[in-house]
Amino acid sequence: MLETNLDSVAQQSAFRHINTGTKLILALGSLILCLISPFPVVPLISGIVLSLVLIIPGRTSPRLYGELLLGPAIFTVVSVVVLLFLLGGGDVIWRFNPVPWINLTITTGSLAQSTIVLFRVFGCSIAMFFIVLTTPVTDLFNGMKRVGIPIELIDLMMIIYRYIFIVYAQAFEIWQAQVMRLGYSRPMEAIRSFSMLCGMLFISSWNAGEDLIHAMDCRCYDGIFPSLDIAEPVQMRSLLPVVLYLGGLAGILLVMTTRSVI
C-alpha cells in the first residue's frame, strides 16, 4: 500500500529525529522562495539540493523517490505544454497551422512563463515531498497542537488518519476477493463490482465507527484525546545549516532580482 509505504519511509528516515519545526522551516521556506522567485534558477537549485539531501544523508530510496516524482512530473509536463500554447506575449518562436481554424503558437512570453511554472512546480513539489518523506503525520499533529490549531480539529484529524489505513485495508481485501472471482474481468462486471465494493466499504466503515465509539466508551472517553508530547528538541547542528541554506537561496534570489532591475 502506497500510504503505508510513505508513512513507513518517514518513520525510517534519517531525519526522523530532527525537530519538526526545523524541517518545516526548511520545507516551507524553500516553498515560499520557489513561489516568489520570478527566475527558474531558484526553484531549480532548491529542488536539486532538497532531492540530494533526501537521498544521500536522508537515505530515501532513489527508486521510490523517482516513482513519487513521476506522478506530479507527468501532470506538470502536460499542463506546461497546454500553457505553452495558451499564453502569449513576445515574439513568435514556433507556429503550427495545419488547418485554417487551428493556430498553435509558441511565443517567447509563453515559453518564459511556462518555464517558470515548470520549475516552480518542481521546486514546490520537492519541498512538500521533503516533509512527507521525513516527518510522520503523527509528528505534524504534535506541531499543529503547538501552533494553536483547535484541539477538536486535531483530534478529528488523528482519528481520520488512524482509520484511513483500516478502511484502505478493508477496501483492498474486498477488491482482492472480487479480483479472485473475476470481478473485474469485463467492463460491466467491473462497474458492478466497484459499486458493491463501495457499498460493502460503507457498511464496514459504519461498523468500524460503532466499534470506535464502543472502544472509546470502554476506556471512559470524556472528551480527551491525548497527544504525543515527545517532541525532538531544536538542535543548532540542524537548525544552523537550514538557516544558512535558506539565507543562501534568498541571497541568490536577491542578487538576480537586483541584476534584472539594473
Binding site: 508513512d7 518513520q11 470502554c218 472517553y221 515527545i230
Partner: protein
C-alpha cells in the same frame, strides 16, 4: 487466592432489538484472582455476556453485580465500572483508536483525569508489562497482529483494572503469538488480575482456565473445573464443542488400565507422568536435572548473560514479556516460551538441566509449581535461583550455586 466474589450475574437476560434473545437467564459469579474461560460455539452469547461485565450492555432483566454492588448505569457509575473492568475486543484494529502506540495507551488514563506525569508512568508501566517498551511512537498500522493485541491490552492495563475481559484473545494470532499471549495472561493473573476469556477453542481453555463455563444458545450448560466441565461428553456435545485431546486420551488410557489421578491430566507433563508411572513405576531419571531460575529484574543481569554464555548447551526458556525481551536483547536462544515450567520439569525428569529466565514477581512461581509437582508425583527436582540477590528457593534435591563457585564470573 482471595475468594471474594468480584463479579456476579443474577438471572440476567438480554434481548437484541429485533426480538432475538441472546442471553436467557444466566447466573454465575467469579472470584477475585480467578482465571475463567467462557466456552461456547459461535452465536452462543459469549460476547454479549462479556459486554455486560463493564456495562456496555444493560441486561433486559436480572442484575449484574460488581464487588457485591449492583451495577448502576448512570455516567459516573459506568466510568467507575469501566475503570475496574477492562475489556479487550476481539479485533485490536477496532480497539486501537489513536495514531500512535503512546497516544492509544494514554487514552484511558487521560480520560480518567490523570496528570501528565501519572499518564507517562501508567503508559510506561503498561507497555513494560506487555513487552512493548520502545514502541511509543510507532503507528498501529505498522505493527504485527500480536503486537496490536498487546497494544490493545496495554491500553486497558494502563487504567489498572481489577478484572480483564478478553473476547476471543487468540483470534487471528499465529500459534506462537497465541502462546505468548496466554503466557501474558498468566503473568497478569499472577500479578493479581482476575481474567475472563471467551473462546471456542477447548484446547486453549482446558489447560489454562481454573474454571470453565460452557455456554450454548444463551444459557450455561455446565460450570465447573475444566476436567469436570469438559469431561461430560453430553454437555460438550450440547455446547457444540469437542472434548480436549488430553482429556480424551486420559479417558482412553483409563479404559486400558492406566491409573488416572483424580485431577485429570491437563498438560503433557501430567500425561507423561501417568504413562511413565504405569510403564516404569516412575517417570524420573535416577539423577534428575536441575532447574535454574534467572531473574532478569535482578541487579546482576550481566552475570546472568555470562552464566548462559559459559554453558552453550543449556536449554533456556523465558516466562514473561520482560524475560523474553531480555533474551532477545542478550541473544539468548530460547527453547520454550510457553508452558516453560512444565517443559523444564520434563527436561529435569530426563536428567537434563535447564534455565528459566523470568522477572521478579514470577521467580517464586517456578518453585511453587515444581514443589507442587514433586509433592503430587513423589519425584524430587532441584530448583535454584541464579542471582545471589534472590533467596534461593529449593525444592527436593538442592544444587546450590553461587557466583563464587562459578568459573565464568
Amino acid at each position: 487466592m482471595n475468594s471474594k466474589i468480584i463479579l456476579e450475574a443474577r438471572e440476567v437476560r438480554y434481548r437484541y432489538p429485533g426480538n432475538l434473545e441472546a442471553i436467557k437467564g444466566i447466573s454465575f459469579h467469579m472470584r477475585r484472582g480467578e482465571k475463567i474461560a467462557l466456552v461456547g460455539p459461535n452465536g452462543a452469547g459469549k460476547s454479549t455476556l462479556l459486554q455486560m461485565f463493564n456495562g456496555m450492555i444493560r441486561p433486559t432483566s436480572g442484575t449484574m453485580l460488581f464487588d457485591n454492588e449492583p451495577i448502576r448505569y448512570d455516567t459516573s457509575s459506568l466510568r467507575q465500572i469501566r475503570k475496574r473492568v477492562g475489556f479487550v475486543l476481539q479485533n485490536p484494529d477496532r480497539q486501537i483508536i489513536a495514531p500512535t502506540v503512546y497516544q492509544d495507551v494514554a487514552f484511558g488514563p487521560a480520560n480518567l483525569g490523570y496528570d501528565e506525569q501519572a499518564i507517562r508512568q501508567a503508559v510506561a508501566l503498561a507497555l513494560r508489562q506487555v513487552g512493548l517498551t520502545g514502541f511509543e511512537r510507532r503507528p498501529p498500522h505498522q505493527l504485527s497482529g500480536g503486537e496490536k493485541k498487546r497494544v490493545a491490552i496495554a491500553g486497558v492495563l494502563a487504567m489498572d483494572p481489577d478484572v480483564l475481559v478478553f473476547d476471543e484473545p487468540t483470534s487471528g494470532l499465529d500459534p506462537s503469538g497465541s502462546e505468548d499471549l496466554m503466557e501474558l495472561l498468566d503473568e497478569l493473573n499472577h500479578d493479581g488480575k482476575t481474567i475472563v476469556i471467551s473462546t471456542h477453542d477447548v484446547e486453549l481453555a482446558y489447560p489454562w482456565a481454573e474454571r470453565a463455563i460452557l455456554l450454548a444458545d444463551g444459557q450455561i450448560i455446565r460450570e465447573d473445573v475444566p476436567d469436570v466441565a469438559f469431561g461430560n461428553t453430553k454437555f460438550v456435545r450440547m455446547a457444540h464443542l469437542s472434548v480436549p485431546t488430553l482429556l480424551e486420551l486420559s479417558a482412553e488410557l483409563g479404559k486400558r488400565g492406566f491409573t488416572i489421578p483424580e485431577r485429570k491430566p491437563r498438560s503433557v507433563l501430567d500425561m507423561v507422568h501417568v504413562i511413565e508411572s504405569h510403564l516404569h513405576g516412575s517417570c524420573c531419571h535416577p539423577a534428575p536435572g536441575t532447574i535454574t531460575v534467572g531473574n532478569v529484574d535482578g541487579g546482576e543481569a550481566s552475570y546472568l548473560t555470562a552464566w548462559v554464555k559459559a554453558r552453550p548447551g543449556i536449554v533456556a526458556g523465558a516466562m514473561g514479556s520482560r524475560a523474553k525481551q531480555y533474551a532477545a536483547q542478550e541473544q539468548i536462544a530460547l527453547e520454550f516460551t510457553y508452558g516453560v515450567i512444565d517443559k523444564c520439569i520434563l527436561r529435569a525428569l530426563r536428567g537434563q538441566d535447564s534455565l528459566i529466565l523470568t522477572n521478579g514477581s514470577m521467580v517464586s512461581r517456578v518453585a511453587v509449581r515444581v514443589e507442587a509437582y514433586c509433592k503430587e508425583s513423589g519425584n524430587s527436582i532441584g530448583v535454584t535461583s541464579l542471582n545471589t540477590t534472590d533467596q534461593a528457593s529449593v525444592t527436593g534435591i538442592a544444587h546450590d550455586e553461587t557466583k563464587k563457585d562459578d568459573p565464568s564470573y
